[in-house]
Amino acid sequence: MVGSKRNLGIGDPDARLMLAVKAGDREAFVKLFESYAPRLVGYVDRYLQNRAVSEEIVQEVFLKLYRTRKRYTVQSRFSTWLYRIATNTALNAVRRRQHQKNREPFDEAMVGTDTAGQSADRIVDGRRLEKLIYRTIDALPPNQRAAFNLTRFAGCTYLETADVLGLSESAIKSLVFRAADTLRQAIDVDERRGASRSNTLRLVKR
């Protein structure tokens, strides 16, 4: 979501398309879907780490977008409206999944996609680190997680993130910092454990 500091929807071509959708225009709806759906799958996948489920969630987002089209007003950028629906839908899906305790296995297809030329140890370390990062993000409180994912993975500015979540910019600064700091600490602990594991292995091999 690339945007200016001003978040008014006036002059936003996607807001104009959304107004056409509001009047029931299927072609405008399809244009918005084609334009946003691919990156939205990437964004939603940060919450669910499963491509098939993320694709279904993105479909739900667009179904909601159409069904609530009458409530859209051109007072902010279209992407703000879309990411708000997407964030709520993704967080609800996470909550439902946690509630049902039937979490799907980590999508291995997503991990280590560019491993050519790396040693086996580095690949294993890289995958472990990715899993650690995802697990840590999973465990963040919803508001920290949403602020972090929007700024890090959806390319939102802090002002846009504030608009999406209905918070102030200073609140976003604080939420993003706390999320990043939690990750930093988790990575630090993991590195210390990794160093300790390596030392233990070295001692065992002697």
Binding site: R6, R51, E60, R84, R96, V164, A180
Partner: protein, 168 residues
């Protein structure tokens, strides 16, 4: 308290999200604060690791299957109403006509006038709402209803937020 403020600015500084005055103030603080410099280094490394994570791309069939789903659920309401009235054929239809119900319905329509064209204005809005609520009754969409309910219960408004007026 001041230290907390500067600590919370570290990621915003890395993300280039501090205003000019904040940035200058933060950089001056950084020169004399080893703790913030250390955190800056750690958070910079964290940001690099997170930014390097692979991003999921949609599958090859995603677009096509999505458009088919949208057509089915959003743009072909007649298909579902056709299914709903599918039982009203053959012997059942004959029985209904025979029972006199159809005659009564026809009588009411003749008396009040046959509806023509699509509803407009307020009628149109009501019709659209009815269409929306009719969808909610479909079991397959219960999750959608629950999600919207949850959002409303939690005070998360679906209406696009008001634009913030910049003070500066």
């Amino acid at each position: 308290m001041m230290q907390d403020k500067y600590t919370e600015w570290i990621v915003a500084y890395l993300d280039d999200e501090l205003g000019e005055a904040e940035r200058t103030s933060f950089e001056e603080h950084l020169e004399g604060c080893a703790s913030c410099r250390e955190q800056l280094e750690g958070l910079s490394k964290t940001a690099q690791l997170v930014d390097a994570l692979p991003t999921a791309s949609p599958s090859a069939q995603f677009e096509q299957s999505s458009l088919e789903r949208f057509d089915e659920e959003l743009f072909r309401p007649s298909a579902s109403s056709g299914r709903k009235l599918g039982w009203l054929t053959g012997p059942r239809l004959a029985a209904l006509v025979g029972s006199g119900i159809a005659a009564a319905v026809i009588g009411v329509l003749v008396f009040s006038g046959w509806p023509t064209g699509k509803p407009h204005g307020e009628e149109r809005a009501i019709a659209d709402d009815l269409e929306l609520y009719a969808d909610y009754e479909v079991i397959v969409n219960l999750d959608l209803l629950q999600a919207i309910d949850t959002m409303e219960l939690e005070g998360i408004d679906l209406v696009a937020p008001q634009a913030e007026v910049e003070v500066n």
